[in-house]
Symmetry: C2
Subunit: 291 residues, 2 copies
C-alpha cells in the first residue's frame, strides 16, 4: 500500500512521540523533527507507510544514539497481557467456537500499537477485548481460516507488536503448532515484537520463532534477510497480523490471511471499513475483489 | 506565543484541508505539501503559529492560484449564524446579566474556526452555544470587562472568523458602540473574517470597521498596515477574539481582554486550561501572572 498525504502529519506525530520517550531535550527534538521533515520533503510516496517509518526511525536512532526507546513499553504490555492470559485462555476453551474466539482476541490485541496511538492504556485494551467478543466479524472468512489452517503444512505467522503476541498465542494454540513458524522483527522499531518478546511470553517453547532480519514496522520482503525470504516463499499459508504487515504485504502474491484492526482513517478508507473494526480477510477475498 | 513541535502535524493537516477545498488534483496536493514541508524544515520556531500559517497559505495561493478557498464556508457560516441571531439576541436581552451572556455567546462562536478543525458542523455550533451558557466562566474577569468597556473611550475589537462575528455582534451591541472600532483581516486567510463578512452581517452599520492590512490568521503588528498600527496604538482598550489573535498578541504591552476557546492541545497546555473551555482574561491578569 502506498503512502497518503494524511500519513505525513501522523508520521510526524509518531516521531515526536518516539523522541520524547528518549529525551526531554528540545534541541534534540528539533534536530530530529527537522531531519524528518527534510526526509518527507523528497520522499517517494509510492513507498508503504512502514517503509517510510523505517527510514524515519533510523534517523531517530542515528541522532539520539538510542536503539530501542520502546523497550519499557514492550515489557509493560507483555506483562499486562500475560496477566490477562489465563482468564482469556479459559474463555477460548469454554467458547462454542474456540478458533473464532481466539481470532477475535488476537485482533483485539492489535490495539497495542504505539506507532498509531501513543496514548494506548490498559483501559483501552480491556475495553477492546470486551467488545471484540460481540463486535461484527466475517464468519465466512473465519470458516475459511479454519479450513486453511487444517490443510496447510507450513504456516508462517507474522507477529506485529509486543503485548499483542500474547493474544496471538491464544490463536496459535488453536492451530497445529508443529506446522507453525512465528516471525518477529529483526531489530527494534516502535513497539514491534522482537525475539526477546516471543521468549518472554513463552512462544519460543510452543513454536519455531524466527526473525525477519529487518527494522521496519511491517514485512518489506526485499529488506528482509535471505533465510526469512526463503522461509516466506516456502510457506503454504501466511497469517499476517496487524496494520504494518497489511500495508507491506497487501499486494504480495501469496496465500495470506490478514488479521487486523484498521487504526487510522487512511487505512480504514483504503479498506472501505470502519475505523477500529475487526478484519479477517484472505488475500484475493471479497475485500480485495472490491478494490 | 512561539510555535511548538506539535503544531507541525496540525499545520500540515490544515494545509491539506485547504488544498483539498481547492482541487481534487493530487499532483497539486503533493506540490503544496512538499513545498510546505520544505518551509517547515527551516522555519524559525520562535515565530507564532499564525505567522507560520501566513507563510504556508501564501504557498498554497501561489501554487494553486486560488486566493480564497474558504469563501463559500464563510458565507455559509455567516448565514447560519444570522439565522440564530434573533433568538440569541432575545436570550441576551432577557438575561439577568446581558453582558455576561453576550460574552459567553461570543466565545461560543469561536468554535467556527476551520484552521483548527475542518470538521466543524452545525451540530457542533449548536451544542457549543447551548453549553456556553452554563459552562464555567471567570465572573471576576467579566466584572472587570464590564468596568473596562464603561471607562474606555476608544475600544478596538479584533474579530476572528466569519460566522463567529455574528456572535461578536451580540457582544458589541452591549458596548458603547460609538466608542468601538471593529478590525478584520486585510486579505483572505482560512475562514478569518474580512470586510465583506462584517458587511454581510450588518456590523458596518453598527460600528466603524477597519481592516488590518495583513493576511495572517492573527494580529502580527509589524505586518499590519500603518493606519491599522496607529489605530491599535491609539486605542485604550483592545478586545482580542480567538486563538490566532491570542497567539500573536499575548506578549503585546497593551490593555487587552482575550476572549477565546483554546481549541488545540498546544494552546490548552500553554494556558494551563482545559481544551475547549471558555476564557476571558485581561492581559496582566491571573492567567499571565502564573506564567
Amino acid at each position: 500500500m502506498r503512502t497518503y498525504f494524511d500519513c505525513i502529519p501522523c508520521a510526524i506525530r509518531q516521531v515526536l512521540d518516539s523522541v520524547r520517550m528518549i529525551t526531554d531535550d528540545e534541541t534534540v527534538h528539533e534536530q530530529v523533527v527537522r531531519a524528518v521533515l527534510g526526509l518527507w520533503e523528497d520522499i517517494d510516496m509510492r513507498l508503504s507507510p512502514p517503509a517510510i517509518a523505517q527510514q524515519v526511525h533510523r534517523i531517530v536512532r542515528k541522532i539520539t544514539g538510542v536503539s530501542d526507546p520502546y523497550r519499557e513499553v514492550k515489557d509493560r504490555y507483555n506483562r499486562l497481557a500475560l496477566e490477562m492470559y489465563p482468564e482469556l485462555k479459559e474463555k477460548v476453551a469454554a467458547s462454542p467456537d474456540p478458533v473464532e474466539t481466539a481470532i477475535r482476541l488476537a485482533i483485539a490485541g492489535n490495539i497495542i500499537d504505539f506507532g498509531v496511538n501513543a496514548t494506548v492504556d490498559e483501559g483501552m485494551v480491556a475495553e477492546t477485548i470486551s467488545r471484540s467478543l460481540t463486535d461484527p466479524l466475517d464468519l465466512e472468512a473465519v470458516r475459511d481460516f479454519k479450513e486453511a489452517i487444517g490443510q496447510a503444512q507450513d504456516i508462517l505467522y507474522l507477529a506485529d507488536n509486543a503485548g499483542e503476541i500474547v493474544f496471538d498465542r491464544l490463536l496459535i494454540e488453536q492451530m497445529p503448532v508443529e506446522n507453525v513458524t512465528l516471525a518477529v522483527r529483526g531489530a527494534p522499531i516502535l513497539n514491534d515484537v522482537l525475539l526477546a518478546d516471543a521468549e518472554a511470553v513463552g512462544l519460543t517453547d510452543l513454536v519455531v520463532v524466527i526473525d525477519n532480519g529487518a527494522d521496519a514496522p511491517g514485512t518489506i520482503l526485499e529488506l528482509c534477510s535471505e533465510p526469512f525470504r526463503e522461509r516466506f516463499e516456502q510457506a503454504d499459508l501466511i497469517i499476517s497480523k496487524g496494520q504494518g504487515n497489511f500495508e507491506t504485504l497487501n499486494d504480495c502474491d501469496k496465500d495470506i490471511f490478514f488479521l487486523l484492526r484498521p487504526k487510522c482513517a487512511v487505512l480504514a478508507r483504503y479498506l472501505n471499513r470502519e475505523l477500529g473494526c475487526q478484519i479477517v480477510v484472505r488475500r484475493g477475498g471479497e475485500l480485495f475483489a472490491s478494490r
